[in-house]
Every structure is written in C-alpha cells, then in structure tokens.
C-alpha cells in the first residue's frame, strides 16, 4: 500500500471509529448495556467529586476575595456615615447614589442586590448602615 492509500485507509478507519463510537441515537439502556463490564457508579462518583472539589476551590477563593472587598467597603461607608450630620441635602442624595452604585454591598447583606430592589429598600439598608455608624460613634 503506498503512502496515499495508507492515509486514505487511516482517514476512513478514523471515520468508522468516530461513527460507531458516538452514542448519538442510542437510548440510555442501550448505553448502559454496552458499559456492562465497567463500574460506572464508581466512575460517576469520581467525576462528581472532581467537579465538586473544583467548584468548591473556586468558591472559597471567591468568598475570601469578597470578604476582603466587603470589609474595605464597609469601612469607607462607616467613615462617611459618621459625617452624615454635617452633609447638605445634595451631599446626602449623592451619598445615597454612591452607596447604591457599590456592587460589593451585596456581600454585606448576603442576598441583597441593590440593582434588584427598589429605593425604599436601599434607604432601609442605608438606615441600617447609618445605625451601624451611630453605634460605632457611641463606642468612641
């Protein structure tokens, strides 16, 4: 067999393998029957563990970063809240929008997403933060 014929048979052979190996069109029970010699339950458990570990590792890294950002953001907010009594109305409204714009605030209140709630709820949240700031002030 010359080189061209050799390559042709390799390509054809590969196509055949691809066609016959693809489970497309087979039912679940047909697939299970063909896998009779394999410990599929063990394999599935191993795969699920791999996936969970990878996702958990990613989640922990994200949580750590989120906590650091949250602390920094809250510190800045507390500092501003301590000066609320000195703010003009315009400054108060700007401060409100600044707070509203801070995405990391969603972490301070776990399920709180400022983009998904109405203004009254944001004001409530702001009131909570101001309360925190007042508690901090009273501790001084």
């Amino acid at each position: 067999m010359n080189s061209d014929e050799n390559n042709d048979s390799k390509n054809v052979g590969y196509h055949i393998a691809e066609f016959l190996a693809d489970p497309e069109g087979l039912t679940d029970s047909e697939i299970r029957e063909e896998l009779a010699g394999y410990d599929t339950e063990k394999m599935i458990d191993n795969v699920k563990n791999m996936v969970n570990e990878a996702l958990e590792g990613d989640r922990l890294a994200w949580q750590k970063q989120a906590k650091e950002e949250q602390s920094k953001s809250l510190a800045q907010i507390r500092e501003s809240c301590a000066k609320l009594g000195e703010m003009t109305r315009e400054q108060l409204i700007n401060f409100y929008y600044d707070i509203k714009a801070k995405k990391e605030l969603s972490l301070a209140f776990r399920d709180f997403d400022p983009e998904k709630v109405d203004d009254e709820e944001i004001k409530d949240m702001l009131a909570n933060l101001i309360h925190l700031a007042e508690i901090d002030k009273s501790d001084e």
């Binding site: 067999m1 050799n6 042709d8 048979s9 390799k10 390509n11 054809v12 052979g13 590969y14 196509h15 055949i16 393998a17 691809e18 066609f19 016959l20 190996a21 693809d22 489970p23 497309e24 069109g25 087979l26 679940d28 697939i31 299970r32 063909e34 896998l35 394999y38 599929t40 394999m43 599935i44 191993n46 795969v47 699920k48 791999m50 996936v51 990878a54 996702l55 990613d58």
Partner: protein, 211 residues
C-alpha cells in the same frame, strides 16, 4: 461565571456514561483488543481518559466557550486529542473530520490558543502506533466488505458511503443521503452489529493464518 454555572448545572451522571461509552468504543475500534481486553493507552483505561479530559476542563488546561460548542462536544474533542496522542492520527487530522461534517451547527471549534494538551510523561509506544495503523486498515477493509455484502440495500450503503467521506453525524447523513434521522439511527445500530461481526471474523481468520 457562565462556564462555572454551566458546569454546576450539567447532568454529570448522564454525560459521564456517554463519555465512557465514546472513549471505550473509540479505543476499541482504533486499537482493537489484545487477549480480549481493551488496550490501555500509556497505561490508561477508558475511565482514566475520561477523568483526564474532565480534569483539563476543570483546571483550565483546555478552555471551553459554551457559546461556541456544547460541553459534550468539547469533552469528546478533548478525548480525541488524548487518544490521538497514541496513534499517528494527529489532532489536526481528527479536527478535519469535524469541518467536513454537514451539520446544523458547524461552529464546533474551541478557542485558541490552547496550552499543551499532550502529557509529557506518557509518550506513545511505537507498538501502539503500529497497532492503530493496522487497525485502520482492517476497518477500511471491513467497510469495503460490508459495501459488497449489502449492495442491494441502498440506504444502508448510503450511510456507509457517508461514513467513508467523513460525514459521521446523523443530521449530516440525513441531509446528504436523504434519509430520516430516525432511520439513520436504526441503520447505525445494524451497521454496528454487522461491523463487529465482520471484524471478529477477520481477526479470527488472521489468527488462523498466522497459526
């Protein structure tokens, strides 16, 4: 975040079974069986190859773009890459099979560039390459034999000829041969049974001749 969410929401039980089916059959057809057992490529079982493909997704060795290709296709391609390492069928050759497919979704390419996907610590054994080359020839001969045997059955032969040309997806065969997809699936089952029988006969007669 999109990728993570998709990974979280995937039915890994179903996907794992399909991947194992694909891997074990692919290895069996490309390398055959040795003493009745599927060849371990570089010492790896079909399950090991499935784990390796999934690990490459999870550790970022291979990037998946869910907007371009499904997770099933992505992992299948990764498995092809691992298997191709042990034969002379290079990844570029295997990728060419997908670009010739007439398919509803022809955008089955992955993002580039990729990190190296071939393991450094398990080089292909020359014996494995020789086995796969001989096997490819055997598969090609088996196909020709089937075409002879089934020449009266037009639809059956159309499917075989599509396979010869690299059209391997049911939708592509349906378009090319004018056969309903459900009929393609039905023919595929018959073709697989017939192929397996012919391969057994050919291997048995080879052994007898060597004896």
């Amino acid at each position: 975040m999109e990728v993570k969410k998709q990974i979280e929401q995937t039915d890994w039980e179903n996907l794992s079974r399909r991947l194992l089916f694909y891997t074990s059959k692919k290895v069996e057809y490309i390398f055959g069986r040795v003493n009745g057992e599927i060849l371990l490529l570089g010492g790896k079982s079909p399950e090991d190859i499935v784990y390796e493909a999934i690990a490459r997704l999870l550790d970022g060795t291979r990037n998946w773009n869910p907007e371009r290709v499904s997770l099933w296709v992505f992992l299948k391609r990764t498995i092809d890459s691992i298997i191709s390492h042990y034969s002379e069928l290079k990844e570029t050759q295997s990728r060419a099979q997908y670009t010739t497919v007439i398919d509803g979704d022809s955008s089955e390419d992955e993002e580039a560039p990729q990190k190296s996907v071939n393991p450094v610590d398990s080089s292909p054994n020359p014996e494995e390459i020789k086995i796969s080359n001989e096997r490819m020839e055997l598969l090609s001969l088996a196909l020709n034999r089937l075409l002879d045997l089934k020449q009266e059955n037009e639809q059956y032969c159309y499917v075989l000829m599509c396979m010869q040309e690299g059209i391997v997806k049911a939708s592509g065969i349906s378009d090319a041969a004018g056969i309903e997809v459900s009929q393609v699936y039905s023919l595929k089952r018959r073709i697989k049974r017939d192929f397996d029988r012919i391969l057994l006969e050919m291997c048995a007669s080879e052994i007898m001749m060597e004896g």
